[in-house]
């Protein structure tokens, strides 16, 4: 073998080599993990959204009347302060043949109406143009959807302790296939494959929130039950996990059950169930 070849092989050996770091390396990294920072971008985008909405409202007086009369019918039971909050944020107008679609967004419900939990329920109405997804709807039906970005904004903004409004949503959550098909909506029950931890320690300083590993999804819901069937927690946001508390206190140690339903970015729905250990 020639000298040049030797050295070329040597170079290649080094290039493809693998070496295992010692265990304390990960421990050190773990102690300094970068975490999510305050979502300035999301707030900025929300602010721009409000300005755009405001501008559209000002410049589209005739359409506005039509829209407002429809909304008036639906908003009957809402509290006024909430109404104001919703109106200012989530309504975007469309100008498409005067056909208006209503969507119910971001219904977050918690099992108890105590004030100890910081989130509140927001029911907002958005009139939107037929946009991104090629879903053809020939009828106006309320579709329950969760938009990732807006969920975050509402989670952050609603950190104050206003009285809770719990809306019992009597609509069934169904999945509409994205194929052009006006036939019955199908609920697909596929086994989900989210990466879910099997235990957590709410009293410690790490691993103290139970939630699946983040995935971008179009629809997500988790409910956690105790073994006796009592509902402990629910959420519509994958990043919003259970801190182990019920009524403000950390729940008993033991086994709990979770049921997750979600729709991935390809439009397929899944259900995933399992158990988790709450350790103290």
């Amino acid at each position: 073998m020639s000298k040049k070849q030797d050295m070329k092989d040597l170079g290649e050996r080094f290039k493809s080599m693998e070496q295992t770091p010692s265990d304390n390396v990960w421990t050190n990294i773990e102690a300094n993990l970068p975490k999510k920072s305050f979502p300035f971008k999301t707030f900025a985008l929300a602010g721009i959204g409000i300005l755009v909405v405001g501008a559209l409202l000002v410049f589209n007086a005739p359409v506005r009347k039509n829209v407002e009369s429809r909304l008036a019918k639906v908003e009957g039971t809402q509290k006024t302060s909430k109404e104001k909050f919703l109106e200012s944020k989530d309504r975007t107008l469309t100008l498409e043949d005067n056909s208006v679609k209503r969507r119910v967004e971001n219904v977050e419900q918690y099992s108890n109406s105590s004030l100890s939990k910081e989130a509140e329920t927001n029911v907002s109405y958005t009139i939107e143009e037929k946009e991104v997804k090629p879903v053809e709807q020939t009828k106006i039906t309320p579709v329950v959807e969760t938009k990732q970005q807006e969920t975050k904004v509402q989670n952050q903004v609603s950190a104050n302790k206003t009285p809770k409004l719990i809306v019992e949503n009597n609509q069934t959550v169904t999945h509409k296939s994205n194929k052009v098909d006006n036939s019955a909506e199908m609920e697909l029950v596929n086994q989900g494959n989210l990466y879910v931890p099997n235990a957590f320690t709410p009293t410690e300083s790490t691993n103290n929130v139970f939630k699946p590993a983040h995935r971008d999804l179009t629809n997500y819901e988790i409910v956690i039950y105790a073994r006796n069937g009592k509902k402990m927690f629910s959420s519509r946001s994958i990043d919003n996990g259970w801190d182990g508390r019920i009524n403000g206190n950390i729940a008993d140690k033991g086994v709990y059950v979770y049921v997750i339903k979600y729709t991935d970015l390809e439009g397929r729905s899944y259900t995933q169930k399992g158990s988790l250990m709450l350790m103290r």
Partner: protein
């Protein structure tokens, strides 16, 4: 569990701890090897690896999707190591023995040696020799580029590289001789 790069990237963009660990589990061996090559001791390599990894976790968003994720990770770590070492001065390592040495005829079959033995042969080199060997032989960087990076003349680079390779070869052949006794 062998995770999809796509999931790892998305998860790390959201600073999800589980996905950060998944990235570590999947790629740490390949990336740590890069740090081992550039540093004399295991301890130095581990320190640099830790710092580089933490920096990586804040920058996963910078991966544009072009080319393989693994390739991007390796470039990230290589650049980190080079930058970390580049600013040191190596003047005292340049001046001695700058003459062409006789080549010996013995062949070196790289396959006869283990990874540990090869790593050991790197560790006997001086810092500058090690960096230049890595850049020229492993990363296959042209001398013109190395010249710009380290601000050392190409002529000097070549002779240092030559010296490095000779030392490594001698070291490895000695190991083999001892093995066979």
């Amino acid at each position: 569990m062998n995770c999809d790069d796509k999931d790892i990237i998305e998860g790390c963009k959201h600073y999800d701890k589980l996905w950060q660990k998944a990235l570590y589990d999947k790629y740490s061996a390949k990336l740590y090897a890069i740090c081992r090559r550039y540093h004399k001791t295991k301890e130095d390599a581990e320190d640099v690896f830790q710092d580089a990894f933490i920096k990586l976790l804040s920058n996963v968003g910078k991966y544009s999707g072009k080319g393989s994720f693994e390739g991007w990770l390796k470039r990230f770590f290589t650049n980190y190591c080079i930058n970390a070492l580049r600013n040191k001065t190596y003047k005292e390592q340049i001046n001695d023995e700058l003459f062409i040495v006789e080549e010996d005829e013995e062949d070196l079959d790289v396959e006869r040696f283990t990874n540990d033995e090869l790593m050991a042969s790197l560790s006997i080199l001086k810092d500058l020799e090690r960096i230049i060997f890595n850049l020229a032989e492993v990363e296959q960087m042209p001398y013109k580029e190395i010249e710009q990076l380290l601000k050392i003349k190409a002529v000097t680079l070549r002779s240092i590289n030559f010296r490095a390779k000779k030392k490594m070869k001698e070291f490895l052949l000695n190991i083999e001789r001892e093995r066979n006794e």
